[in-house]
């Protein structure tokens, strides 16, 4: 059996070769396999092979696919003849990755690989069972030749109206076995014919090398300048968005994530497009700087305040490194088909985006001072990882790298380079404009901070003024409502004026001072509070008496006016307590009318009458039928000896299952349920994929999937 010989071959490899295998396929290491047969089983497993295929570049994949066309075992010379003479080196690499293995001087493929490559490698059809005489091609009719031409480079299948009267062109080809019949409507070009027409090569062209990088030239100085503008913009967005959400927290959608309306509002607020806001929100979310709170409000966390206390460079690099690693793709945000994908929602995870980002950036790192031409860059990366390639991911990565300031004018900046090389000092702090510690106040009640403000200043001004324009500088505007907000935050008019006098380089204009005084004078003149109940009495003496009554101290009365007391006790309790203290209170309703009779008490909860226990009802027909079927199956299963399916090892199980799938025979398996109880199932196995056996269960008559690790043993059905 092939698996065994694969294991044997691995066994025969040197320690270095095994180590090299682990290096190129690290997933084989976790967990460390117990022995070499376990290693071979894992190396031949679908998930591991899929990962291995994903790591191949286009050329390697072409060579491996070409190998799939050959009958095993095949020699190196055979492979070179159907592919290209340059394939030799790649064959060595494929061997090292255990994607081919040696059988004497020849090579074989791990058993599951062909499944993954597919039944029609490189668009070649199945092998023909008939002998084909290629000499007949000399006399091929023109329209038959046209059909062949269309099928040559795949896909090899073609549709016909009715196979019984296929028409002249196809009829001739079928007659001469250049086509074979697949089903009543499909014909297929046999592999031999395909290879013949392709002149013995599997692919028309092989691509041993990636395309050359091309792009617009940029000067590193300009790139860095642009990048630093991007970085300061990005940090400002993060800060601004968090502050904005702290003021007006958006509420998460029921399905998770940020609603379109909030997204638009935030985009307006920052003055950027929605994609950009979605991106900023996602990055903040990654950093734990914002979170969906328990009441579904999206709010900044304490980590945001900690983040804000760090240096600008740290702030930036912490977010960039999270972005580089994350599997969340903010570029997906928006409407995709009928569905709307929300930022911060559950649908943004995609495998492979992180490696795509890394490879994109490293490609830029190899081509400094160039703003890449997107098409070529996509082609280069498509060559490097054809299996995982996604053109949009690259576009998004470039866009996001620019937002982050890893790039400037499209080319990798000095800061991006420093970040990617893991350098300690990225130089961002030095390049960013120095924070300023003053503002300029003008007579039109606006204040201008001619640079980024220090955090404390920005916070203070943010509470007493509204921001009007953003960028390198900020323009704030003072208004009645903004000053009021400052007062609400606990500042006094004097404090605000002192602060402005201290921070403003220009004298505080008289109208502004007037405005602050005016608002401060009016602020808090009206007071609002809450009280549970009140006592009112026209006799002020009585009110004073109650207020000072020792017996009523527990009620903690407050005097609001000479005739009114309030306290935080329910009116009912208040009345009772007053009566105990031998006063004679009466209750009144909201409009001051006496309530003469005490209210009849009623429960606050909704009525919940008890359930009626009924006699047992006759079971429905469906339930009865199901019960009978279960009984019959149980019967059948028990008649199929052995009652207990013999235990088989995992490898045996897999082998046996494959064998039964091929033979299309029924079998009995022992299957452990989630509680560990083993039951016997009588099944028709159909296929195995991703650790799961798909089979028809005789008990239910339905297709069902069985997790292979849970199968305790396999035995024939009879």
């Amino acid at each position: 059996m092939s698996v065994n010989s694969f294991a044997d071959e691995l066994r025969a490899r040197s320690d270095e070769a095994i180590a090299a295998l682990f290096e190129v396929r690290p997933d084989l290491l976790s967990p460390v396999p117990t022995d070499l047969s376990a290693l071979s089983a894992r190396a031949n497993s679908t998930p591991s092979l899929m990962r291995a295929l994903e790591s191949l570049n286009k050329f390697q994949l072409e060579i491996l696919t070409s190998a799939c066309v050959l009958t095993e075992p095949f020699s190196k010379a055979e492979l070179l003849s159907v592919s290209t003479p340059e394939a030799g080196d790649e064959l060595v690499r494929l061997w090292a990755a255990a994607l081919v293995y040696k059988d004497g001087t020849k090579f074989r493929l791990p058993g599951n690989l062909r499944h993954l490559i597919g039944d029609e490698p490189a668009g070649l059809g199945p092998q023909s069972s008939k002998k084909i005489d290629f000499k007949a091609l000399k006399d091929i009719p023109a329209d038959s030749a046209a059909v062949l031409e269309r099928l040559t480079w795949g896909p090899p299948r073609g549709q016909v109206g009715n196979i019984k009267s296929p028409g002249k062109a196809i009829g001739w080809l079928l007659e001469n076995s250049f086509l074979t019949v697949m089903d009543s409507k499909t014909v297929v070009l046999p592999r031999e014919v395909g290879m013949h027409l392709r002149a013995g090569k599997v692919y028309k062209e092989y691509s041993p090398e990636a395309k050359n990088f091309s792009g617009t030239n940029r000067k590193q100085k300009d790139v860095d300048r642009a990048a630093i503008a991007n970085i300061s913009n990005f940090l400002r967005w993060c800060e601004e968005l968090s502050h904005n959400w702290s003021d007006e927290p958006p509420v998460a959608l029921r399905s998770g994530g940020l609603g379109i309306r909030d997204l638009k509002r935030s985009a307006d607020h920052l003055g950027v497009d929605e994609n950009c806001v979605a991106f900023v929100a996602e990055v903040l979310y990654l950093g734990g700087l914002i979170v969906v709170d328990t009441d579904d409000q999206i709010l900044p966390t304490n980590s945001f305040d900690i983040w804000m206390s760090r240096s600008l460079e740290e702030r930036w690099s912490s977010l960039v490194s999270l972005w580089l690693e994350t599997s969340r793709v903010s570029g997906l945000v928006g409407k995709i088909g009928e569905k709307n994908i929300a930022p911060l929602g559950p649908e943004l995870d995609r495998a492979g985006i992180a490696s795509m980002r890394k490879i994109t950036l490293s490609t830029l790192a190899q081509n400094l001072e160039l703003d890449p031409e997107i098409k070529t860059l996509q082609e280069i990366i498509a060559w490097q990882m054809p299996q995982r390639f996604n053109a949009e991911y690259i576009e998004w990565t470039l866009r996001e790298a620019e937002w982050l300031g890893l790039t400037g004018q499209g080319a990798l900046s000095q800061f991006g380079q420093a970040f990617l090389s893991g350098s300690e000092d990225l130089g961002v702090e030095l390049a960013l404009p120095k924070p300023v510690d003053h503002i300029l106040i003008q007579a039109d009640n606006s204040a201008i901070a001619p640079g980024p403000l220090t955090v404390e200043l920005a916070n203070m001004i943010g509470t007493i003024a509204d921001i009007e324009s953003r960028g390198g500088a900020s323009v704030y505007r003072f208004s009645e409502s903004s000053i009021r907000r400052g007062l609400d935050h606990g500042q006094t008019g004097e404090q605000i004026k002192d602060f402005l006098k201290k921070t403003s380089k220009t004298p505080v204009p008289q109208p502004l001072e007037y405005l602050i005084n005016d608002v401060a004078k009016r602020h808090g003149r009206l007071r609002v509070g809450s009280a549970q109940s009140y006592v009112r009495c026209e006799d002020e003496g009585l009110v004073t008496q109650i207020l000072h009554d020792k017996k009523l101290e527990s009620l903690r009365f407050r005097k609001l006016a000479p005739q009114v007391l309030v306290c935080d006790v329910e009116p009912g309790d208040l009345i009772a307590t007053l009566r105990e203290a031998s006063y004679l209170p009466a209750a009144e309703n909201a409009s001051g009318i006496l309530i003469s009779a005490p209210a009849i008490r009623r429960a606050k909860s909704r009525p919940r009458p008890p359930r009626v226990l009924s006699e047992s009802q006759a079971p429905s027909e469906i339930i009865i039928k199901a019960a009978v079927r279960t009984l019959r199956t149980g019967e059948k299963a028990s008649s199929h000896k052995p009652r207990e399916v013999p235990r088989t090892t995992a490898n045996e199980t897999l082998d046996l299952l494959h064998q039964y799938i091929e033979e299309q025979a029924s079998l009995t398996i022992g299957y452990a349920d989630t509680n560990g109880g083993v039951s016997n199932r009588l099944i028709d196995p159909i296929s195995i994929s991703l650790g799961t056996l798909i089979a028809r269960d005789h008990a239910t008559g339905e297709m069902q999937s069985f997790r292979i690790p849970r199968i305790t043993g396999v035995s024939p059905a009879k």
């Binding site: 300048r225 642009a226 630093i228 503008a229 991007n230 300061s232 913009n233 003055g271 620019e402 400037g408 004018q409 390049a431 404009p433 300029l440 003008q442 007579a443 039109d444 009640n445 606006s446 201008i448 001619p450 640079g451 324009s469 953003r470 960028g471 390198g472 500088a473 323009v475 208004s479 009645e480 220009t506 204009p509 008289q510 109208p511 007037y514 005016d518 009016r522």
Partner: protein, 550 residues
């Protein structure tokens, strides 16, 4: 990073630090493509708009120059996206051209077939276009020249107009420079206009716009239609033209509410042009009455919307717009650009300053506390009556009178919106009142007395002060009147407040009722005036009253 005077914001505003040593140089450079939005004492704000950039393009600046200027003076790194946007916007101007074709008449030409395709797909544009002659040329239906330019601008592809102009009926006009001479910049402005064909000349108030108009007429030597804001302006134009040019009295006609003369040079008011009789514009024929060679629009920023519609029809005539600012309250800057033409000339800021554009006037807001009764009445008033109520209170009147007495030695104007209030003031102060229904003769008589100093104080209604040319005053007291448009406010201030010969600063008082809607309007006024660089202060009415005990 340089340490420049300019901060480029991501919302496309430019902040200019005017205390910076390079600020003058920078201001001159950016004026060609950015619009000055406000100019308070320390930081001036400019804005980059597509129109501003296209104006710069029309004046021969290219995107590279603009980007260079931004980079040169910018204090911080300029967002790349903004620079790309500038270049992109500027490259849109001139990709489409309107030209005269020897056979097909007016054609739309572009060397960029994709752009041509894009605009011909436009729903509004398509009906104006006819046969496509080749990849680059499409016939334009006759009479659509103006409308097409308007529509193309809306699509973001402003067309450059090379289709030329009719000469109009010849009429000999020359400048007569005896005892005066045309200033250099006026000459440049007229030349800039003449070479550009049509367009707008931006000159600050008092910089001699009439002379530029006269110089343009001397270039054209053709019959001219001049559209002005009001009758007084019409007479001023006539006087100037008589003084500065070879034109005689009988060559100049006035076409206004009272007179309907059509002469080789005709001066018409906006009002008469937009008068409708039974829903039809009654005086439209004026545009075709003579084969005009030149049409001059005075105060383009105030041009009423219907005039644009007429203007669209006369695109083959040369058009000159004169204004102090391109900013329009109604946002119709695009119409000015497409129908009258791009900016052809503007005077450097230095000149504006020398002309005293920022008048050294003090603006003082007097806050009045309403009495308790007044407050109660105000609180219970219907929303639509509230403004009238709070702005005509007795308390206000007292303060106004106190102020008038305080400045009894100076030329004082009291301005208000509500006639009852003005009547009362005029009666109590014993000074004449000019309102909407005061006959022109009477007005001119009173103004004359006022100018001579025989009357020290005048009460004028808003209607009156809007439609006539007020004489100079040193003190203005506004008792009521909403903050209207910015233009209105600026014009009023600019006209009435001139510094006294002895250097005393003019004062503009506005009396405002505290904690009412009046105060909200005052806030807008404060913001606008401060943005224009006026000094602004607030005082309490009690201070005024205690200084003037009766």
């Amino acid at each position: 990073m340089t340490d420049g005077p300019l901060i480029v914001q991501s919302d496309k505003t430019l902040l200019l630090d005017i205390d910076h040593p390079l600020s003058d140089e920078c201001r001159r450079s950016i004026a060609s493509f950015a619009e000055l939005e406000k100019s308070p004492e320390h930081i001036h704000t400019y804005r980059l708009t597509p129109l501003g950039l296209w104006n710069a393009r029309a004046a021969g600046h290219d995107a590279e120059q603009v980007v260079d200027i931004l980079l040169k003076y910018s204090r911080f790194a300029v967002p790349h996206a903004l620079l790309v946007d500038v270049a992109e916007t500027m490259s849109r101007y001139g990709r489409l051209r309107l030209e005269a074709h020897p056979v097909h008449g007016l054609v739309l030409v572009s060397h960029d077939p994709a752009v041509l395709k894009e605009v011909t797909r436009g729903k509004k544009v398509a009906p104006m276009l006819g046969l496509q002659l080749d990849d680059e040329t499409i016939v334009v239906h006759p009479g659509q020249r103006g409308f097409l330019k308007q529509a193309l601008l809306k699509l973001g592809w402003p067309a450059e107009d090379f289709a030329g102009y009719v000469d109009g009926e010849h009429h000999e006009i020359d400048l007569v420079q005896d005892g005066w001479s045309i200033r250099k910049y006026q000459e440049l402005a007229a030349e800039g206009f003449w070479h550009g064909g049509s367009g707008v000349v931006v000159l600050p108030c008092g910089a001699g716009k009439t002379i530029v108009g006269a110089a343009a007429m001397a270039h054209a030597k053709a019959t001219t239609l001049i559209l002005v804001t009001n009758t007084i302006a019409a007479r001023q134009w006539r006087d100037e033209l008589l003084k500065r040019t070879t034109l005689h009295e009988d060559e100049i006609g006035e076409y206004s509410g009272s007179k309907k003369e059509i002469r080789p040079v005709t001066i018409a008011t906006y009002q008469v042009m937009t008068t409708r009789k039974q829903g039809v514009y009654a005086h439209l024929d004026l545009f075709d009455a003579i084969d005009w060679g030149l049409i001059i629009y005075d105060e383009v920023h105030l041009l009423p919307a219907p005039i644009f519609r007429f203007t669209a029809d006369i695109q083959s005539r040369r058009r000159l717009g004169l204004t102090a600012t391109l900013v329009r309250e109604d946002g119709m800057e695009g119409e000015v650009f497409s129908l009258i033409g791009p900016k052809r000339f503007d005077v450097p800021w230095k000149e504006i300053e020398a002309q005293g554009y920022i008048a050294p006037a003090d603006c003082i807001e007097v806050r009045v506390n309403l009495t308790e009764d007044e407050r109660l009445n105000y609180a219970t008033a219907e929303p639509e009556d509230r403004y009238r109520f709070c702005s005509t209170t007795a308390t206000k009147r007292k303060v106004a009178m106190a102020l008038a007495r305080q400045h009894s030695e100076e030329q004082v104007l009291i301005i208000g919106q509500y006639i009852d209030q003005l009547d009362a003031l005029s009666e109590e102060l014993g000074v004449p009142l000019i309102k909407g229904d005061t006959p022109i003769k009477e007005r001119e008589r009173l103004f004359d007395l006022y100018r001579k100093g025989e009357i020290k104080c005048l009460v004028v209604s808003k209607v009156a002060n809007f439609s006539i040319d007020l004489p100079d005053a040193t003190i203005a007291i506004q008792v009521s009147g909403t903050f209207g448009s910015r233009q209105e406010e600026a014009q009023r201030l600019g006209r009435i407040l001139r510094p006294k010969a002895d250097g005393r600063t003019a004062r503009f008082y506005s009396i405002v009722a505290r904690d009412t809607v009046d105060q909200d309007f005052a806030q807008n006024r404060q913001r606008f005036l401060a943005e224009q660089g006026y000094a602004y202060g607030i005082i309490d009415a009690d201070d005024v009253l205690s200084a003037n005990p009766d």
